[in-house]
Point group: C2
Chain length 204, copies 2
Amino acid sequence: MPKQVDHRERRESIARALWRVVGQRGVMHLTVREVAREAGFSHGHVQHYFASREEMLSFAMDFASEQTAQRVGRGLEELGEHPHPRDVLRLMLIEMLPLYADARATSRMSAAYVLEALHDKKIHARARDSLAQGRSLVEQLVRQAIEDGYIGPDRDPVTETNLLLALTGFTTFLELDVIEPREVLAAVDQYLDRLFTGDGDGGA
Amino acid sequence: MPKQVDHRERRESIARALWRVVGQRGVMHLTVREVAREAGFSHGHVQHYFASREEMLSFAMDFASEQTAQRVGRGLEELGEHPHPRDVLRLMLIEMLPLYADARATSRMSAAYVLEALHDKKIHARARDSLAQGRSLVEQLVRQAIEDGYIGPDRDPVTETNLLLALTGFTTFLELDVIEPREVLAAVDQYLDRLFTGDGDGGA
């Protein structure tokens, strides 16, 4: 195996161990030492791959975002060549929610990262950039859908983007078993049905 | 000061110190020792008030919920005797979001508690009960608003309740400065305008 790939794979397996620590043992245990134990490596071995706890956390977060993007990418492939913008947005929203194991792991990592951001300026800046980038992507889709006549021309793209993203608020209700997955899906679909009232005739 | 009041006040001041630790130093520091330091008490003194870290955390969370309920209660008083259900729901939503210092402290405490719930069954059960109770209250308001003709009779109360609560998803976007407070308020108002389309004529 080429050395570079091995390095990357090692970092990814440490990142996955970090996600497990977040979900199974708690943010209290997010130290290099505890993550090393979970990954089955020595403390020094993990330090070889990450110079600091912050670097390890940031990598684990970036890796979570990448994994989420990959899941969305696979879902997009299944939607075919000219997917309906409603289906694209639905896919993105669903993959951000803790509805199944993979999405749960990345969602929990995000929640932990946001809490770290509250008291760490570097992490805050990084988390902000990443979330703002995701928000831009959604706004672009919303603007295009308005232009193409899928969403009514009276809708404000900024407000609609923000309301769509706020639906990630289901996360807490899912994690605490207060709203069931099928109810969340029903609510998301109801919401999208009300937003996508046009037939995509180019808004002519 | 009567002893009981003093006991309660002491516990509240420790809870506030715990909130500060969450916001300013991070969940990693949520130990009895660190909270005692932040509160300016000895470790033993805090142990006198809380038998365990879990008890301290749960009290700090209950206190956060109480404080939020009190803020909502004060807001309700300002709304007068027969408030419009739209205003009541708006008030409840706004107070759950980290839009100003007090609400930020309780919101951060909630976020930390949810992460603790992931790996602690007792905390999970407690957090679930509290959130489910809040959800019931909102559902009751929504059902009444449908019955009174403020919300269209075609709306499903369960789905509408869930969608309203999902708006707490703005929390992350506010904490990371990705969506500005005025944009959040605009989106919430837009959302409520679309929900409250009736004039409260009793649905007749």
